[in-house]
């Protein structure tokens, strides 16, 4: 294991200073937020050793606010704060539920949403909910501001639409509407603290006939980036919802994913678990609505 004794760390106190350092250093520095995955990657030598831009002390990037038509989350906001935020629990519950499963309390206290997004693990638990909630990422640099929809932010395995002088400063998610339900599902090898073998976020919009007017499904850890399950979504939209249509739709997910074998599971296992997770998740959404007296 590498000791990090020769690494320089820049620790700006304000966003402005941080952007200035990024402009000057660009690719020569790696941004560290909570560091709960980055420090492991550096110690294990997975990541090239670079000097660090430590943004952990920039408290102006820690907030959860109601915007005009979206919820605005500062990039440094911890998963503990996201999971316990009344705003997020009320209007973007899928994200709160995902935040709660990210890892142990120790991880949740330190890891940030911005770090999770830029670290870009295909298994990152915050990404599927952000896909279905149409998240927009706010990237700042000395030059100005860019707003990038999350699905175009990820271009391939750990390939991101972010310049070396840009910092992710805010995540915007839309509020779930009254006629929408959603769920986050995670299959990990340990309940309290695990990297996902498969995860998924489902968001449905009901029509007046107890059918789905619109369905969005995103899965993680089954492709180089988080992916939408388009064939599955299509098979559900406007259809009568019974056990056979739901099973058929869930089974179609294998067309949307391209899992690999790794230490946490085989590709075959991931395909089977993806189908199962969607089947379980769809029924949970439907049963919850039935119980609510619809």
């Amino acid at each position: 294991m590498n000791r990090l004794h020769d690494i320089e760390v820049y620790s700006p106190k304000t966003l402005e200073e941080a952007l200035e350092i990024l402009r000057r250093e660009g690719d020569r520095v790696k941004v560290i937020a909570g560091g709960t995955d980055l420090i492991i990657q550096m110690k294990d030598g997975i990541m090239p050793r670079k000097n660090l831009l430590n943004i952990y002390s920039i408290d102006e990037l820690r907030y959860i606010r109601m915007g005009n038509d979206s919820i605005r989350i500062g990039a440094l906001t911890s998963f503990t704060d996201i999971a316990s935020s009344a705003l997020i629990r009320n209007y973007a519950r899928i994200l709160a539920d995902a935040a709660n499963t990210i890892g142990s309390i120790q991880i949740m206290n330190k890891a940030s949403i911005g770090g999770n997004l830029v670290n870009a693990s295909p298994a990152a638990d915050s990404i599927p909910p952000l896909y279905v909630l149409d998240a927009v990422l706010v990237l700042r640099s000395v030059e100005g501001v860019r707003e990038v929809p999350i699905q175009s932010f990820y271009r391939g395995y750990k390939k991101l639409d972010i310049r070396s002088d840009e910092l992710l400063t805010e995540v915007r998610v839309r509020r779930m509407a009254e006629d929408e339900d959603g769920i986050f599902l995670k299959h990990g090898l340990r309940l309290g603290d695990a990297i996902s073998v498969v995860n998924a976020a489902l968001l449905v919009k009901w029509d007046g006939d107890d059918r789905f007017k619109d369905v969005k499904i995103a899965l993680g850890a089954v492709a180089p980036t988080v992916v939408r399950a388009r064939s599955c979504e299509e098979a559900l939209t406007g259809k009568e919802l019974n056990d056979s249509t739901i099973w058929d739709a869930a089974s179609k997910v294998v067309n949307d994913i391209s899992p690999i074998d790794d230490v946490r599971g085989t590709a075959e296992y991931r395909r089977e678990m993806s189908v199962n997770l969607l089947y379980i998740g769809l029924w949970e959404i439907i049963n919850k609505r039935n119980q609510a007296g619809w």
Binding site: H5, I39, G103, I107, K110
Partner: protein, 157 residues
Amino acid sequence: MRRRVVRFILNGEEVEVYVPPAFTLLEVLRDVLHLTGTKDGCSDGDCGACTVLLDGKAVHSCLTIMAQVEGREVTTVEGLAGDGEPDVVQKAYVETGAIQCGYCIPGFIMATKALLTANPSPSEDDILEALRGNLCRCTGYVKIVEAVKKAVEEAGR
């Protein structure tokens, strides 16, 4: 080696160390400050043995670098028994027999401390939730949960 002065509050007292800023808090606590109560288990954020409080919240000291500690408050297991008298949580673990080999216990104690500070009357589910990131390989979980309940009772008296 690139060293820098890092100032922070450790167990209630201001300290200053001259260390590489990317050294982990765990390395500095154990190897520089010789506070060996905090244990090095997996060094990967999986086991919770290295848990300390950073501004009152449980974090892994193995996944925290010194630059992140600058100006903040750190509490280690040594900080609980300030005047030599064990903290109510420590007493409860000892009296319940929640300790076998003991290696994971400082981490469990700190996670428990964080829980009780935030929530003085936790349910069993709250306890399991708060301790879900701490592993005990002597399989002492039942006694550990009992110890937390005892600490809750004792603290409430």
